[in-house]
Amino acid sequence: MGKVILKIAGFFILSIGIAWALPAYAHHVLGRPAYSLNEDSNTPPSMEIETQVGKYYVSMMAFPAFPKPGQRGRVNLYAVRIDNGESYDGSVTFTAREDSWFGSEQEVLGTQPPDDRVYRQGFAFHKAGNYIVRAEFESDGEPYQVDFPVRIGSPVPVGPIGLTVGSLAVLLIGVNIFQRRRLQRIRASQYHAGKSSSKEST
């Protein structure tokens, strides 16, 4: 029994030693927008997304984070190879489309060469809504596409509310109709059963 306890103690000590030896690194959640105040201004925030596409690690930033309709904004893109850390030096084409469930027309914002290894694209949307800015480039004969959500103004999200209320209404009305018909069927069968039993008794 003593040996077992010694072995368990050894396991604990070894494990805790391994735990202490592991280093800790900084962290960023890939693909999720992060809002921050940056060096461009101390008031309007910017939005950043970091992501990994094929052989590249891509960082995109939109400034300001929440532009109003007609307000000029900018998207910056920076791409480095995951294997050797070299930055991408070709050209990048930026397009934009409405972020809707049903397809919308895509518009080319521009094609940009690198400016100090960063690709900068200006934009101005005149209608409030949710848009997707897409950066497209090619490397080693493979196409790369990175999507970036941009929200202009305060669009009214009637879609989800309408869908929820609509689903609930259809469900409740459907159940109500089903139940009414079922009750009618039950009453009818009870009526017929009562009629036949009264005939038998007479």
Partner: protein, 507 residues
Amino acid sequence: MMHPGLPAAWVETVLLAVLLLTAWVLRTPGYHAHSTPTISLANLPGMGSMVRAIVSQPWIQLALRLIMVGFFIMIIVSGLFGTPVPERNAATVLTWTLWWTGLIIAVYFTGSAWCAICPWDALATWLVRRRWWKRGNASSSMNLRVPKWMRSIWPALWMFVGLTWLELGVGITTNPYATALLAMLILVLTTASLAIFERKAFCRYFCSIGRTIGMYAELSPVAVRPVDYDICANCKTLECYHGTDEIEPCPTHLVMGRIKQNTYCTSCGACSQSCPYQNVAWRLRPTGTEAIRDVRPHWDAAWFILGLLSLTSFHGITMMPFWEQWVRSLAVVINDSGQLLTSFSIGMFVSMLVPVALYAGLIQIAYRIVGNSTEYKRLFSSLAITMLPLAFTYHIAHNLNHLLRESRGLSGVIFNPLGQGTLPLSVAETHFRHMNPLLSENVIFTLQAGLMLAGFWLAVRIMRSRITRLSADSLIQRMISIPVLFFLSSVTLFNLWLLMQPMIMRM
């Protein structure tokens, strides 16, 4: 932004205690669970009559439900129309920082009371039954029986896995819009279930939140129980089960006189309101008594507990700096892009598989020790309950960090739920919040260390009781306890290690 983990001194103290406990249990593994004293709050001098009045009247519950529905609507409006900055929007702050973290802590003190004021159930009931609290018209629902293959908590387990995937993979915890969408989706599912199936099938079989609460409530020192068991034993009318003309029957098919475990009780109050003898009230009992003595082993419940254990630890793993390195490396290998959801899903699957495989393997060893006297499945189910305190205490310890470090600024969100005109937190503000929690760091560390130790202690007590029921032979008891203790101590050690690490905050 990261905050410091549990100091080494605390970890060493807990480890020493775990070692001593392990050694002691190996010497005396068997334990016969004796009946323990419990007190019904309805019998307390001075406040007993007040307790009976409160639990038998629906008005207090209705008022609380209205408040919760108010918050629920506020969350949906904030999520859909408010700022997308998560730390400034009531949808994300109230849902994930306050409710989801605080709920698990509250289960210990209030059992399954949350289910009684759940806004999803309240809204679904009002929509389908078209009554504020009285028994609805029978024709308002199709009242179909839940198909046999769905009559278990497997659906709730899969919903819990899905919720965790959305939470940690997709990242709805930092997306107010997605948070509102999820809230509305759950409302549609709850309403659909109530309109189609008999009683409250969603609460019993499908709700991952309710079943998590139900499982953890087995360890809670409070439960809804008969005031006098003899009255229930002689009751022939069973209003608690069938309901009355005014009051709904038990939504989860429970009979108060026979209830032994909290797993499916939603504390809805139907039994206390319908009982003609006012014989149902809250009862106090020692922590974990139910798990030690009363909980019956079930295959689906065992898997749910395993799911809870692995997913709570997985929450901790994803907040470690190394997690993203792993996911990125895997993404390169499998050519994953964007948010790396495929890589995340594989990582999540493996993280869930490891504890399951380890437990299944160790139970296999125990099975060989026991011989043919019991089935593998029974052994698996019987001993799974030992993991529940480990999952619960780590869950609370982990949530304490979120609740106490991320809750600063709550008042700002309450007064401006849509976050209009607000800016994201600057790096300095975020740092200030995380380093200045609502309670001092030392208190948090003490609570976390205490929780880990309490979890192990309770797990050991449950194990001793379980193995005594499996075999009367003290040698076999000792032999079975070795693999089980190895599993319990490994999980405790791993969770301690997770708590030691600097953890990345969500917002």
